[in-house]
Symmetry: C3
Subunit: 339 residues, 3 copies
């Protein structure tokens, strides 16, 4: 599927500055966009990306400060207000379910599909995969070699799965992210048109959920292992060789660098970055960026030693209250004695 | 299905005061009961409901203080001790699974049911619904127009679903609530005979679980959006246009008023009320009612500013300990100097 | 399946001390091993088990201090380094999925299997069981009488289920535990060759996950009730008549004794023991063993009264800061007055 940028410009009432004969395939965030994708700059802080993005076409409010070798769709007013139009335009038009294995699915010869599985339109399943019963793989998903997909797993539309990935039972890949805008007190769904990319050698725990990107992808890096009942929200970028323990929840648009270990029941607020080699203790609440190569604990999380000191001080509080009482008594008695 | 109140009274050894020719369809809590339902008053604090309930028939220990225009089943001893008898009596007798689409199911013409789905007895699915594979919809459930039900969703018996409701993959509607009574150290299951009511424009996240009511219904109000891996327990009454973020758990019989936002990994204790427009920060633990129009944080949750102050004071504790030490030294030295 | 200990010794380069004609069926931890199972002692603290284990054959580094009536496989160097060899050796070779109900499955006559269910090789389902649609029961699982298995449940290989067990929708039994060893920064999967044993009268909540043992079993004791979205990790031994409330997570190799109540969203660190009749309040974080017959609260959890006192002291902190400020002023003014 591809879209003429003339058509897109016309839907937004935008002016084209540059090559108006271009076509784009998808809408993507500027840091992730490939050369055939359309992207956008909604805030000044993204200006530097105009030079580094692979995208050829960028939606902007003004192209004056930006490099000349790109094509711009210049809109009136704020770029963000055009997102609903763009999302409707780029929302994939899912195909009707016809059969349990759709005709256009490509399944390697050595792969057995149990009868209760659904394999959607244009799905590709590579050799060596082991598919258990009651699995649903929706339209356009591509699955690399030697993956194991246990029962009751759902992989939603257009997910891209590497090699040797293991999906424990009941996990969900590519559910819609939790994205709404509120208008007159009502929450209106923001179409979630991105997808999920899972690299080689990842394992996903049972009943864990990984949401698709709103625009652009949610990514799980090579060799990362995710435990049961974990929540990974839209547009999270999880690095390589991470360990994410059970019942942890990571809000949207978080970047987790490589070799990070996050213990159980941790919560991470949105739009943060967790540095390389960080270790987060169980039940921590992360509310700001974490510098690399350190251990963190607590809610809000702080470096582990600081948190442990805080806890020790809290435990000593009853004694402190007593000591202050003593001091008060001493001073008051002294004052009395002197009067 | 309907039951003669004569028959019910006889099973409980109750005396009928009022019209003994009445019939009832179901057992319901007094605040929710409709005119054809049987209800009960087990504590004095529910006396005022006797005037306002739609129910015509009420089980009571004594009807002396209560209005004359109702019919009463007067039992000996405590009303609660009759609940096991009532639950067994009103427990729906589920029908045997015969086919993947039962003959009595009514499915709108434009709705396609994939082969691996189960559509139970007397289920009604309205036009415009999109049903994905491996979905199970059990007996008596009614689903409004234009709902989307992703793979591996379970909707259990007698659920009532509005229009435009979206069920992300793997969510569970109408599982039994966690209700037991303990007898000689053993936990005996309390039959969960209520159901789940989900109003229009709700979205339910992937692998979220919503338990059916014990008696009466668990209700999700219009326009409310629930994220992934959330737990909603039996008889919760969630208002309209609420946002409930991932991994939050709400214990049984909680009332959440309209326009409430509950961030991720929050826990709410049972039988509480959360006022309108409340915002609860992530990871809070709510252990008492929350007044409307405020922000809360912490465990136990308190108004956000108070909680943030507490946190600041805890961070300053090491300095406080030092200051007290200094004071002690000053006083002791002074005393020494004076002696 | 059984293995000659000669063959096993040869694969490990071990010397047999004792009866070299023995056969074993499985690898098991020393406290759980039955007489036909192979076990091992990797640390001195397990020496006393050599006298009490039912196993006849034990892998050790040296058998000098150990009783003479057992047979030993004496290895060079650390026992633990041979685990990968042993795990590969004892890893069950799962059978190919052929049909929706495999020929070798034994299903009681009165049990109806809906068309979309998968019943694996050698599975046994006893009389009185009620199986809902989209259930997957994998190879070798044995299910006792009168169990109820709601839709979209997965029970993985070789699970042993007692009588009257209820599985709410979407729960997962026997997923792989989260076990890896790290080599050059990469996490290598440790094969999880144990299984799950669930005793009579247990109930498992919707979308709850119970991992199989790494070596040996994860066990849920008779009469225990587990709520929704709970995570039970590999080799947990949960006692009888426990109540484990929603969204609690128990790390690996934890022992929970009988009659324990763990409220919602609690986290338990690995390898701990929680004593009989313990009650843990919601959201607690348990980081050390808990003595029996007490109530605990907080993170890290402490006896409930201590925790509540700590909380009270924290709430009083603003006043304490003021009092200390007052004292400082008094002393300074006094000093000034005296100078």
């Amino acid at each position: 599927m591809r879209f003429s940028i003339k058509e897109i410009a016309s839907k937004m009432g935008a002016t084209i500055v540059g090559d108006d004969s271009l076509f784009v395939t998808r809408l993507a965030p500027i840091a992730q966009a490939s050369k055939d994708e359309l992207t956008f700059i909604s805030e000044e802080k993204y200006f530097p990306f105009a030079s580094t993005t692979h995208a050829k076409v960028i939606i902007v409010e003004s192209c004056d400060p930006l490099p000349r070798d790109k094509t711009y769709l210049v809109v009136k007013g704020n770029v963000r207000q055009y997102l609903p139009i763009l999302l409707m335009l780029f929302k994939p038009s899912f195909k009707q379910i016809d059969k349990m294995i759709e005709d256009s699915a490509e399944i390697a010869k050595d792969v057995h599909i149990p009868k209760s599985c659904y394999i959607g339109h244009d799905v590709k399943i590579s050799k060596g995969c082991k598919i258990y019963p009651n699995v649903s793989i929706l339209e356009g998903t591509v699955i690399g070699e030697n993956c194991t997909i246990y029962p009751n797993v759902t992989i939603r539309e257009f997910s891209k799965i590497g090699k040797n990935v293991i999906f424990q039972p009941g996990c969900v890949i590519g559910s819609d992210g939790f994205g709404y805008y509120t208008l007159g007190g009502k929450h209106i769904k923001i179409e979630q048109i991105g997808t999920v990319v899972i690299h080689d050698n990842v394992e996903i725990g049972s009943n864990t959920t990984i949401d698709r990107g709103a625009i652009g992808d949610t990514v799980i890096g090579m060799g990362t292992k995710i435990d049961n009942l974990v929540h990974i929200a839209h547009n999270d970028l999880i690095g390589e060789n991470c360990l994410i323990i059970a019942q942890t929840g990571i809000s949207g648009s978080v970047t987790v660098k490589n070799n990070v270990t996050i213990a159980g029941q941790v919560g991470v607020a949105g739009h943060l970055t967790i540095g390389e080699n960080v270790i987060v203790a169980a039940k921590a609440g992360i509310s700001k960026d974490l510098a690399p190569n350190q251990k963190y604990q607590g809610n809000p999380a702080q470096p582990m030693l600081d948190e442990q000191k805080s806890k020790v001080y809290v435990r000593k509080l009853p004694k402190l209250f007593e000591r202050v009482k003593e001091l008060e008594k001493m001073i008051l008695e002294k004052n009395k004695g002197e009067n």
